[in-house]
């Protein structure tokens, strides 16, 4: 490659960034939303009431399964995280696989009562989309996202090298100067949140390191099960004794767990072979209880409630991995830090979006025939509109579908997700068939209208609308609705800006005519 290192890095940055930029935009948008996945889930299950109460949730779930699933093979209880209310529990009947878990899933509210909430995957769906995408086999999706993350890491490093005036331009943002402004915006959102961008990309790769770099594991272990047993502890199911025993109260075991962990909260409860005299209760520490996200598992004798010996503390490598994943997902983060994460996520989203627009902005002035750009240019231009305006609108549709789909629709959670892609697809069509500038204005306006509609629809379909929430001091619901309005305002502002922008090509024509 000729030219200095800066030129070659600029080339690398441009093309690596463009190739997977659209996928990175989706990863950033859904990942940023996922920092508030518990709050999103709460908003999407308005039937769940009461306050966060782990003991009530655990007792309610156990009581329900003792009555309705006494002979199940395993009970699983996901306790509410610090910011959540609902406890999700499900059981597995003999011969079933965990893929069928939704067949026997139910929710317990903050009062310990089973509650018939609408069927939804809530914020969890957006979290999974962040690395599993949708409609694709999970393994393929993770390879794709991993590739995008690797490209992102390359783009960050090459971007820092190629951006020569990183310190001179530190606070610089010049509006209304075409390509210069896009570059400023791109640099600013990249440089100011650089610690976050680097951390999030690197640790993101670590979360799925065993999939992306399997050779170390296959060199040292005969099979993957042996590796997992070694790394995370063997998880042998207890053998059935054949005689029954009543389970000791779960509250006592939760109390012991908290004492053992110096006050850290439990997150999951597993009860293999419930009701059997050999049964055990496994309590796993909450993923949000510390920066290390892989919590310790404590095992209790189900019949007596006596705790077994504690497992050995994890080794340094495992603990490092655990902290890295914790840093990435931010589950430990208290509210202020969570907003910092969110802000950095938004900066990342803006960085990708401005980078994509910059690609076209830079080339528009050099087009041989501005009226008829070459195919590649048109493709990138349309893809940008379809992604940057289309995906946010899809997410607004996802929230609206949660409120508007009939309650008894079969596979309701999947239909909510389908509506995300229907909304997105509609804007893709608009982005392709309309003239470029009109397409930007129209798609951004539609997306703004979509977010504006979410609180309105909420107000009409539930008794937990914005004004009621504000009145009751229900900050989770109120903040969600206010965030929708803020996003509507942001997208509307962008639409208005594009609408008022002078047509670059025409201005140049006029100048040439004058000259």
């Amino acid at each position: 490659m000729n030219g200095g290192i800066r030129q070659s890095m600029a080339w690398l940055h441009t093309w690596v960034g463009l190739l997977l930029g659209w996928l990175l935009f989706l990863v950033f948008v859904t990942g940023t939303a996922a920092y508030f996945q518990d709050e999103i889930t709460r908003w999407m299950q308005p039937e769940v009431r009461g306050q966060h109460d782990i003991d009530a949730g655990a007792e309610g779930a156990v009581a329900y399964m003792q009555k309705h699933a006494a002979n199940a093979e395993q009970w699983s209880i996901e306790l509410p995280g610090e910011r959540a209310v609902a406890t999700t529990a499900f059981w597995k009947e003999k011969g079933e696989t965990f893929a069928q878990w939704r067949d026997h899933a139910f929710l317990v509210d903050g009062h310990g009562q089973k509650v018939d909430a609408r069927d939804t995957l809530g914020g969890w769906r957006l979290y999974r989309m962040h690395f599993d995408l949708y409609y694709l086999p999970v393994l393929w999706a993770r390879w794709l996202v991993g590739l995008a993350a690797m490209f992102m890491l390359v783009a960050i490093i090459s971007g820092v090298i190629t951006h020569k005036k990183i310190f001179a331009d530190f606070f610089t943002l010049r509006f209304g100067k075409g390509q210069r402004s896009w570059l400023d915006g791109h640099n600013l959102t990249a440089v100011l949140a650089l610690p976050f961008h680097f951390m999030i990309t690197y640790t993101g790769l670590v979360t799925l390191a065993a999939q992306y770099m399997p050779w170390g594991v296959s060199a040292a272990y005969e099979n993957r099960a042996a590796y997992y047993a070694d790394a995370f502890g063997a998880d042998e199911a207890p053998k059935r004794s054949g005689s029954n025993a009543t389970m000791a109260p779960i509250a006592g075991m939760l109390k012991q767990a908290r004492e053992t962990w110096h006050g850290a909260e439990p997150g999951y409860i597993f009860v293999p072979i419930p009701g059997d005299a050999h049964g055990v209760v496994k309590i796993i520490r909450s993923t949000g209880a510390g920066m290390a996200t892989r919590g310790e598992t404590l095992t209790f004798d189900a019949a007596t409630g006596v705790m077994h010996a504690r497992p050995p503390a994890p080794g340094a490598a495992r603990e490092t991995e655990s902290v890295m994943i914790g840093l990435h997902a931010g589950r430990y983060a208290p509210v202020l830090l969570r907003w910092f994460y969110f802000l950095c996520g938004l900066a990342g989203t803006a960085m990708v979006a401005t980078g994509l627009v910059l690609w076209t902005s830079k080339r528009r002035m050099q087009l041989p025939d501005p009226e008829r750009p070459y195919f590649g240019f048109r493709l990138v231009e349309r893809m940008n509109i379809a992604t940057i305006a289309g995906l946010p609108f899809g997410i607004a549709c996802y929230f609206m579908a949660n409120r508007l789909l009939p309650m008894d629709v079969v596979q309701r959670p999947n239909w909510e997700a389908n509506w995300l892609f229907i909304g997105w697809g509609v804007l893709c069509v608009v982005a392709i068939v309309r003239p470029v500038k009109r397409a930007w204005v129209e798609t951004l306006s539609v997306a703004a209208a979509g977010f504006l509609a979410v609180p309105v629809v909420d107000m009409m379909t539930t008794d937990r609308g914005l004004f009621v929430s504000l009145w009751r001091g229900d900050m989770v619901f109120a903040s969600f609705d206010l965030m929708m309005l803020a996003l509507a305002g942001l997208l509307g502002f962008c639409a208005w800006k594009v609408h008022n922008r002078k047509d670059v090509v025409r201005v140049r024509r006029k100048k040439e005519a004058v000259a």
Partner: protein, 88 residues
Amino acid sequence: MMLLCLLTALLGFAALSMGMSRHQRDVLGKALPAARTRSVKLAGWLLLAASWAAAIASDGAALGSVYWLGALTFGALVVALSVTRLSR
């Protein structure tokens, strides 16, 4: 303590931006003397260090440092937008 961390990060970046000739011209309308520029810059760096200290005092070295990096990004973004807004 966290508020102090945020505030010092914000002030630190404000001082650093005023230590740069481009922003001196844009915001103040004139260049500061070299000695003033140097002291403003020094104050900026000291404030950023104080911000880190405040974060560590509040939440310990590990969590505090993460907070600090978040506060830095927030502070720098606010300063960048203000500088743009105040430019004449």
